[in-house]
C-alpha cells in the first residue's frame, strides 16, 4: 500500500502516497500502545465533536430569544428537522425516542464535518464507531419490537399480502435482509467517509509534482482542482450520510413500532 515513487532527480524529492495514514488511531501523548482508555486522537476529535455540539445546541440557544439569533436559528432548524423526520417516518408514538435519534444525528453530522477540516481525524470513518452505532440501533429496534408487539413482531417477516406459497421464501429473504441491516447501515457511513478522505489524500499527493518535473505544470493544477471538487462533494456527503443514517434509524424504528405492513 505504501507506495513511494522516486522523483526525476533520483530521490531528492519524491511523491508520497499515504492516503490511509489519516485514519491511524494513535496516542496523543507518547508513542505507547493503544489501550482501551488511552487518550488518542479519537478522544480528541470526539471531544471536539462534543464541544461543537454544546456550542451550537447549548450556548447557541442560551439567549432563549423569541426572535432567534442566527446560531439559535440553526439549532432550532436541526431540532425541527430531526423531530419532523421522526414524526413523519416513524410516527407520533416514536417521539419518545427522539432524543436518542437526535443524539445519533448530531454526533454523526458534527463528526463528519469536523473530519473535513485539514489534518483532522474522522471518527466516523472507522467501522468500529459506525458498527457500534448500527448495532445499538439494531438491538434497540429488535428488543423494542418484541417488547411492544410480542411475537407479533415476527409478522414483519410474514408478508400477508403475498400469495401463500411465496410467503416462506419471502420470510427467509426478509430475515436475511433484516440481519444484514446493521452491516449495510454501518459500512455505508464508514465507507463513504473513508473513501472520500482517501481520494482527497491521493490527489493531494500529486500536488507537489511541480517541484519534480515539467509534467507537474499540468498535474499540479489538475490535482488541486480535483481536491477542490472532491472536497465539495465530501461536504455534501458529510451531511447526506448523517441524514441517511438517521432516516434509516427512523425506518427501522417504524418497523419495530408498527411491524404490520
Amino acid at each position: 500500500m505504501a507506495t513511494e515513487a522516486h522523483g526525476a532527480e533520483g530521490g531528492a524529492l519524491e511523491l508520497v502516497f499515504h492516503p490511509m495514514d489519516q485514519f491511524i488511531v494513535k496516542p496523543l501523548f507518547g508513542d505507547g500502545q493503544v489501550g482501551m482508555f488511552t487518550i488518542t486522537n479519537v478522544t480528541l476529535w470526539m471531544g471536539l465533536t462534543i464541544l461543537a455540539i454544546v456550542g451550537l445546541l447549548v450556548l447557541g440557544t442560551s439567549g432563549r430569544a423569541t426572535i432567534p439569533s442566527r446560531i439559535q436559528s440553526i439549532a432550532e432548524l436541526a431540532y425541527g428537522f430531526i423531530r419532523k423526520m421522526v414524526e413523519d417516518v416513524a410516527g407520533k408514538d416514536a417521539l419518545p425516542y427522539f432524543p436518542y435519534i437526535m443524539t445519533l444525528f448530531i454526533f454523526i453530522v458534527f463528526a463528519n464535518f469536523l473530519g473535513l477540516l485539514p489534518m483532522a481525524f474522522t471518527t466516523t470513518s472507522h467501522i468500529a464507531v459506525t458498527a457500534v452505532m448500527a448495532m445499538m440501533v439494531f438491538l434497540t429496534v429488535t428488543i423494542l419490537g418484541f417488547v411492544k408487539n410480542g411475537a407479533g413482531f415476527l409478522s414483519l417477516f410474514w408478508i400477508s399480502a403475498a400469495p401463500l406459497p411465496l410467503r416462506p421464501i419471502l420470510a427467509l429473504i426478509e430475515i436475511i435482509s433484516y440481519f444484514v441491516r446493521p452491516v449495510s447501515h454501518s459500512i455505508r457511513l464508514a465507507g463513504n467517509m473513508m473513501a472520500g478522505h482517501a481520494v482527497i489524500k491521493v490527489f493531494a499527493a500529486f500536488a507537489p509534482m511541480i517541484l519534480i518535473g515539467w509534467i507537474g505544470v499540468i498535474v499540479t493544477p489538475l490535482s488541486i482542482i480535483a481536491i477542490t471538487a472532491i472536497y465539495a462533494l465530501e461536504v455534501l456527503v458529510a451531511f447526506i450520510q448523517a441524514y441517511v443514517f438517521t432516516i434509516l434509524t427512523c425506518v427501522y424504528l417504524k418497523d419495530a413500532l408498527h411491524p404490520h405492513h
Binding site: 500500500m1 519524491e14 495514514d21 488511531v25 470526539m46
Partner: protein, 191 residues
Amino acid sequence: MASETHEATEIAADAAHGAADAAHGGAEAVGMPQLDLTTFSNQIFWLAVTLVVIYFVLSRIALPRIAAVLAERQGTITNDLAAAEDLKAKAVEAEEAYNKALADARAEAQNIIAQAKADMKADLDDAIAKADAEIGAKAAEGEKKIAEIRANAMESVKVVAKDTAKEIIAAMGGKADAKTVTAAITARMKG
C-alpha cells in the same frame, strides 16, 4: 509484497527525511487502519463516553430548552394573532360608528334644512298674506274714496244741473218750481 516494499521504502524515507519522519513515530498505515482490531476497544470506549455525554447534554439541557423556546414562540404568535384580530374588530367597529355618526349628522342636516325651508316658507306665506290683506285694505279704502269723490261729483253735478235748469227755465220765462226741478233732475241723473 506489502511488507518487503514497506521495509524498503521505510529505509528510503528515513534516508530522505531523517528527523521529519520521527514525528510520524513509525505510525504508518499498513492496509486499512479501520481493520486494526487493537484500536477497537479504545474507539468503542470513547464513542460510548461521547454518546452518553451528548445524550445527557441533549436530553437535559438542549432539547427541552429548544422545545420551550419553540412553544413560547408559538404562543406569542398565537397571542399576537388574536390581538391583531381584536384590533381589527375594533377598527371595524370604529369605522361603523364613524359611518353611523356621519349618517346621523347628514340626516340632522337634512332635517335642519327642511325645517329652515318650512320656517322660511311659513314666514313668506305670512308676509304674503299680510301684504295681501294690506293691499286689500288699501284697495277698499281707495274704492271708498273713489265712491266718495264720485258721490261728491254727483252732488255737484246735481247742484249745477239744478242751477242750470233753474236758469234755463227762468230764461225761458217760466218760474221754476224748485221741487219739480229737483225731482226731475234726480230722475234723470239716475237714468
